[in-house]
Each structure stands twice: as C-alpha cells, then as structure tokens.
C-alpha cells in the first residue's frame, strides 16, 4: 500500500496484492520494456508529501519520473488501471474506490498519458501484476488472471542508467 516499483528488466514481476478501493496504476513503455506499478490509496494528498505513491495526485507525476529514469520515453507511456472497487456499501468510506479512479484519471489526463486498459469498479478485490515484456494483468480473489495489456514485442530493454 502506498508503494511503487519500477523495472526495466524483461521477466521481472511487479505485483500489487489486494487492491480493494485502492488503485494499481501501471505505467508502461512497451518499446523500451520499462514498467512501473504504484499502489494508490487515496485521491488527494491534501498537503502531505510522503509517501507519494499513496496519493493519486502525487503518485502519477512520481511514477512518471521514475519510469523515465529507468529508461522509458515519456511520450510512449501508456497507463493501465486496476482496482477502485466499492468494497462496502455504506459508511465513512464514501466510495473511495470511485474517487481514487477519478483522481488517477484526472492526474493522467493532466500529464497527457493515455489509459490503454483498465479493470475498475465492482466490489471485489483484485491483484494487479506486471510481467515486464509479457503483460499487465488483473486477478480477482479466487479467480483467473485476465490479461489487460500485452507487453510483448518491445525491443531489448535500455538498462536503467544507460545514457540515451
């Protein structure tokens, strides 16, 4: 929760387990085989600064920065969204799931990044998984894995830190 991971190595696996109202935000550069996954918990930071990945408004720019640093080209970045479920029908949560997915969409829109695929809403928990160079997938608790975006066909990864 509130964490992010980035990889430029084909075969690496990035996972966000147990996304209920949280959003698993995947940013990928399919050509360079670079991917990042953030586990977003709340829509706005409201003045907080850390951890960035926790808040949609901070997670998006932060994840962009980190995947670019790992070798992705900003203009090639595409997003996949998983989660944002309404886990409970009443109570103080005020459908955090919907507010989270809206906030992530808005932040991505501001950065000009297209959402390629998504599995959002409902009322079941999900696990988001990126296998770099293979796919971005979503899996419901007890269900089968659904591939949301194929990552195959990229060229050999630019290693993190290599000069471009």
């Amino acid at each position: 929760m509130g964490e992010l991971a980035v990889s430029g190595t084909v075969g690496d696996e990035l996972v966000a387990i147990g996304l209920g109202s949280c959003i698993g935000l995947a940013l990928v550069d399919r050509t360079a085989n670079v991917a990042g996954l953030a586990h977003v918990v709340l829509p706005e930071s409201q003045g907080k600064t850390e951890p960035k990945a926790k808040f949609a408004d901070l997670a998006v720019p932060d994840l962009i920065g980190q995947v670019v640093e790992a070798g992705a080209l900003r203009r090639r970045l595409e997003a996949v969204l998983v989660g944002g479920a309404r886990m409970f029908s009443v109570g103080a949560s005020l459908d955090i799931g919907a507010r989270n997915s809206e906030a992530v969409r808005e932040a991505l829109g501001k950065e000009g990044i297209k959402i390629r695929a998504e599995e959002i809403g409902g009322n079941r928990g999900r696990t988001a998984r990126i296998i770099v160079g293979t796919e971005v997938s979503s899996q419901l608790a007890g269900g089968t894995r659904t591939s949301l975006l194929s990552l195959a066909g990229g060229r050999v990864a630019a290693r993190a830190g290599a000069s471009r």
Partner: protein, 200 residues
C-alpha cells in the same frame, strides 16, 4: 494524532482492548453455547502499509465483517475470519456456509461482538461509540483491510490496530478483531486516561 504512540499509550490501549474483548467473548459464548477463549491482544500503531501487513497475509482470502463506528470516537470495527473459521461459525449457528443466510448469520455475530466490544470501551472511557449495520465481505485480506483503513483513517499517517484473538474451544476458529479509530479517535480514546498528546 500525528506522532508515534509511546509504550505507555500502547499499553493503555492494549488494556482497553483486553477488557473490551472479554466482554465481546462473553457475548459470543452466550450466542453459541460454547466457551470462548481470549488471547491477549496485540496493539500496534503503524503506518497504513505496515498496518495492513501486520493484520495478516494480504493475499489470504478471508471473511471480513465491518461495522462503521460513529459517536465521540469514529472509525470502524473489523472482524477477520479465515475460510474454515467462517464455515465453523456457520455450522455452530446451523446455517449452510457460503449461502446468503450465512452472510446474515456472520453479520449477526459481527453485530454482537462489535456491540459488546464498543459498549465496554464506551463505559470505560465515557465516550460514545455506536456501531452501524454490519457488512460481510469475503475477499483478499489486503483489499479488505486497506479499504477499511483508507475509509476510517484516511489522511492519518498512523493506523491504530487493536487485535484480539477469540478462539472457540473445541473448534478451530480464530477471529481477529480490529478496532480502527480515525485519526482523531486515537487521541480521544487516550484522553480519559490522561495519556493524550499535548497538542490535539
């Protein structure tokens, strides 16, 4: 509450949880007609992510029973029951596990435990804490706990988790009972004990 809780505060909260869960155990015992054992609760105040991990394996499928809490202290009460435990509770109540009636039955158990727990806390602290209707959800532990924490604690950096384990004698059924006060609620619980932070 912005800072970390010190040992004295955690001890006080653990003691509150201890006494409250004793009351809850008695209620459950009466409902099921079985002896209910109570393990000394763990009290931890951790950043949200760590609190989810401390509650258990996020990938484990569990049944969660959530009750919103309103009043002087707001937040949520969350009971976590592993699948075999949920089946045991159902059969003890004479309902088919996994059926719609099962969810109602589990909700009822949540209601009774939650109300018992909150009533005891209320009388010890002089603070009102009223449970809302229970919601039953079977899903990944991580998804359930994170969603409840996000709703109950929100921008609080620290999640306060008071974890009591109720064991029903002769039946394998460990129930984790978590009291998740919102950011202001932690301070409110400590104030009657004279242990609140200087700045509210």
């Amino acid at each position: 509450m912005t800072g970390r809780l010190n040992d004295m505060q955690l001890d006080a909260l653990r003691e509150l949880a201890n006494i409250s869960s004793g009351s809850a155990a008695t209620s459950l015992s009466q409902m099921l007609g079985r002896d209910v054992d109570l393990n000394v609760p763990k009290a931890f105040a951790l950043p949200l992510a760590d609190a989810v991990d401390a509650a258990g394996d996020p990938a484990q499928e569990v049944t969660g029973i959530v009750l919103g809490v309103e009043g002087d202290v707001a937040g949520a009460v969350l009971l976590l029951v592993p699948p075999d435990g949920a089946a045991t509770l159902c059969s003890l109540l004479g309902v088919e596990p996994g059926s719609d009636v099962a969810d109602s039955a589990l909700g009822e158990i949540g209601n009774i435990l939650g109300a018992g727990y909150l009533m005891a806390l209320s009388s010890m602290t002089g603070l009102s804490m009223m449970p809302g209707p229970p919601q039953v959800i079977t899903d990944l532990l991580g998804a359930i706990v994170a969603s409840v924490l996000a709703g109950a604690v929100g921008h609080g950096e620290t999640a306060l988790v008071l974890d009591s384990e109720l064991d029903i004698t002769g039946e394998p059924c460990a129930i984790s009972f978590l009291l998740l006060p919102d950011a202001g609620g932690v301070n409110d619980l400590l104030a009657p004990l004279g242990l609140a932070e200087a700045s509210a």
